[in-house]
């Protein structure tokens, strides 16, 4: 553990004006530093008389529980948009309860008659030995997480409270040997404007948390805690990793001015949040959000999305601690719909994906056969039709929740009419069942399909007569139509959103939908790409669904466009023969239409 050192002892040679580390979270700040020194004080290691052993086990279990409670408390306070941090805390909770840590420590206490600190240190060094043998640096680095977790248990065993990371009344930059991801999360409560550490790397969880908090951070500065002292004034550049000591007043001015400019830019984008999303000439495009958990709803509302264009229900399914029965699903969907009302919410049915073929014959060694083509296997709607009990309970839950808002049900990976009709048959049965049981159901639930398979594009005119809306999923559409597995390093470079074939398929789908008067949305990565979005708007898409935080940026673009310019640009793109041509045309056109900062970054 660490503790702040208030006395400013200057040990570094005066000639050192700058330090170079690894920038892990961008942003430049100028502030005084507070240094936390590594506490070298260790509890003594000693043998225990036999009658004290169980008491010692209890003391250890108490510390484990207290550390778990701390993590749970922190987890509860987390803002919904910090999904990375949430996952890190969950992994720390698992480590804290891991048999290699807990059972092993208790075993050592009992068998070697030693105190908990001694036993925990031994268990930890055994884990370290196993991790040291791992070649993969990314996985090996996870030992630092285990160490953070164990350090907190050491702290609690010695009765140490958390060092206060906050409570300063002026902006500070924190300096320590290392901070845990949890330490970093606690920084957001105080006046902490950045931090730097001696340890760590770009893939450390502490760095990930810093990035998601937008907190500038530099790691890997050896001896930082002795080269710097509390009270020093520095400029920290979390992008380049450079630290400037005792900066000139002009440099400080420059940093503060640029921070003001960043804030102004953020404010400028904020001003778009409550504006209508339409072109200069009043042509509307609905900008909605892709989300996967209810926790993201505050972010959706904050950035002014006009609905949920894609709720990925299967991730909610994975994250649940309990199997998602109908009641739980209904409660989730009710909250989702009620929060977003009167805006529409599009829920994609379980897209349990990838490689879903499993052996139904216990004990059979046939599972040694590999799935040759996971992307072409039993996934998505096919899996739902295979596991119908699960699918029906999801549909029942959706319809039961439908009275609380505006529900659109989205069916993924439809590739043939027979498949769609089979689903509609099941929907009718579910509706009959619900009516028979006296459950009220909204009359205006829309049922649409993802267009993400080339066969669905080719047959879009036929499908358009059978569904209430289309949602184009470009990620899968690109993979299936260009025959590219983006996860395969040898072909990933061929994955190309600007491939004219992709653009033409989008256009064909839009035309087929509009011929039948059904709306067409797009919810792949392309929708949130400020370079792509104008072209998509020009192709006539009614709705673009993207990460919630990008909405204001795309809206600003849209509000500076004329619809006829967008249509003309899209027409030109559709005439291009290859993606390079599309790109250079786009670069030329956009530069003529808007300031650079509108579509870059």
């Amino acid at each position: 553990m660490t503790r702040p050192v208030k006395e400013a002892k200057r040990r570094r040679p005066l000639s050192i004006r700058a330090l170079q580390g690894i920038g892990v979270s961008p942003g430049v700040v100028a502030a005084i530093v507070v240094v936390f020194k590594r506490q070298t004080l260790r509890a003594g290691w000693y043998h225990l008389p036999a009658e004290h052993i169980e008491k010692e086990v209890e003391r250890f279990a108490g510390a484990i529980n207290a550390a778990g409670d701390e993590l749970l408390q922190l987890r509860e306070k987390l803002a919904g948009d910090l999904a990375d941090a949430l996952s890190i805390i969950d992994s720390h909770l698992l480590m804290l309860r891991d048999r290699m840590l807990v059972e092993r420590t208790i075993g050592i206490i009992r068998h070697s008659n030693v105190n908990a600190e001694r036993a925990l240190a031994q268990a930890l060094s055994e884990i370290k030995e196993r991790f040291d043998r791992i070649d993969d640096p990314y996985i090996r680095e996870r030992f630092s997480d285990i160490k953070h977790v164990a350090d907190r248990v050491f702290g609690l065993l010695s009765g140490r409270e958390h060092s206060p990371l906050t409570g300063e009344d002026q902006p500070v930059i924190l300096v320590a040997n290392d901070f845990s991801p949890e330490d970093t999360l606690r920084m957001q409560e105080g006046n902490v404007h950045g931090f730097l550490t001696e340890k760590g790397g770009i893939t450390s969880h502490t760095a990930i948390v810093a990035r998601s908090l937008g907190l500038p951070a530099v790691v890997g500065i050896e001896h930082a805690t002795s080269l710097l002292a509390t009270g020093d004034f520095i400029i920290l550049d979390g992008g380049s990793g450079r630290i400037i000591l005792d900066p000139a007043p002009a440099d400080i001015q420059r940093v503060r001015k640029s921070n003001r400019r960043d804030r102004l830019l953020a404010d400028e984008l904020d001003s778009y949040i409550h504006l209508v999303s339409e072109t200069v000439d009043g042509f509307p495009v609905q900008l909605s959000a892709n989300i996967e958990t209810l926790a993201e709803l505050p972010t959706v509302l904050r950035f002014g999305s006009e609905g949920i264009g894609l709720f990925r229900s299967e991730l909610d399914y994975f994250n649940n601690r309990q199997p998602p029965n109908e009641e739980q699903l209904a409660a989730t969907y009710q909250q989702l719909l009620a929060t977003m009302a009167p805006y529409p919410v599009t829920v994609r049915t379980f897209d349990l994906g990838g490689d879903k073929f499993f052996n139904r014959f216990p004990g059979n060694k046939a599972w040694l056969d590999r799935e040759r083509n996971p992307a072409l296997g039993l996934r998505s709607i096919r899996f739902s039709l295979y596991e119908q009990t699960m699918f029906r309970s999801q549909l029942r839950a959706l319809f039961r929740a439908s009275v609380h808002g505006r529900l659109r049900i989205l069916l993924p990976l439809i590739s043939a009419l027979a498949e769609l009709r089979q689903v509609k048959g099941i929907v009718d049965e579910v509706l009959d069942e619900l009516a028979g049981q006296g459950h009220p159901v909204a009359g205006d639930v829309a049922i649409g399909m993802m267009v993400e398979v080339p066969s669905a594009v080719a047959m879009a005119d036929v499908f358009a007569a059978e569904v209430d809306f289309f949602a184009i999923g470009t990620n899968d559409l690109i993979q299936y139509s260009l025959a590219i597995d983006r996860g395969n390093q040898y072909v990933a470079h061929l994955y190309e959103p600007y491939h004219p074939a992709v653009l033409r398929m989008i256009r064909q789908t839009v035309e087929a939908g509009h011929a039948r008067n059904i709306p067409v949305s797009l919810c792949g990565e392309m929708a949130g790409d400020p370079l792509c979005a104008p072209v998509l708007m020009g192709m006539g898409l009614d709705e673009l669904s993207m990460r919630p935080a990008i909405v204001p940026k795309v809206k600003r673009l849209l509000r500076h466009c004329h619809s006829d310019e967008l249509r003309r640009m899209a027409q030109q793109m559709l005439q291009c023969g290859d993606c390079d041509q599309v790109r250079s045309l786009l670069a030329r056109e956009l530069a003529n239409l808007y300031p650079k900062e509108y579509y870059q970054g």
Binding site: I146, E292, M450, T474, L522
Partner: protein, 95 residues
């Protein structure tokens, strides 16, 4: 006892790292099954994140997944989905 098993090739670009291991453990809990990973003659239970991590499974490695319990097949399907995810950036729309 229901039992389901499957051989999969790890599709996640960073292999079985912290988040994947965390999710595997939570699947075992949420489905009330015992979930095992088999690799290179080692068999570990997914409830121990440290055991799973120390298998050091990189992208492209082949692993056996075994689920035991009443909801074995659903749990296995969920686990296979997680292991096969192409990448797990949470905000990477899979539209």
């Amino acid at each position: 006892m229901m039992r389901a098993e499957k051989m999969v090739i790890i599709g996640n670009k960073r292999g079985i790292h912290g988040r994947v291991a965390t999710r595997l453990a939570s699947i075992a809990v949420s489905h009330d099954v015992r979930l095992f990973l088999c690799h290179a003659e080692k068999k570990v239970e997914c409830s121990s994140i440290l055991d799973v991590l120390s298998l050091a499974l990189a992208r492209g490695a082949t692993v056996g997944l075994v689920a035991e319990g009443p909801q074995a097949e659903l749990a296995l399907a969920a686990a296979v989905g997680i292991i096969n995810a192409q990448d797990d950036a949470r905000h990477d729309p899979s539209g």
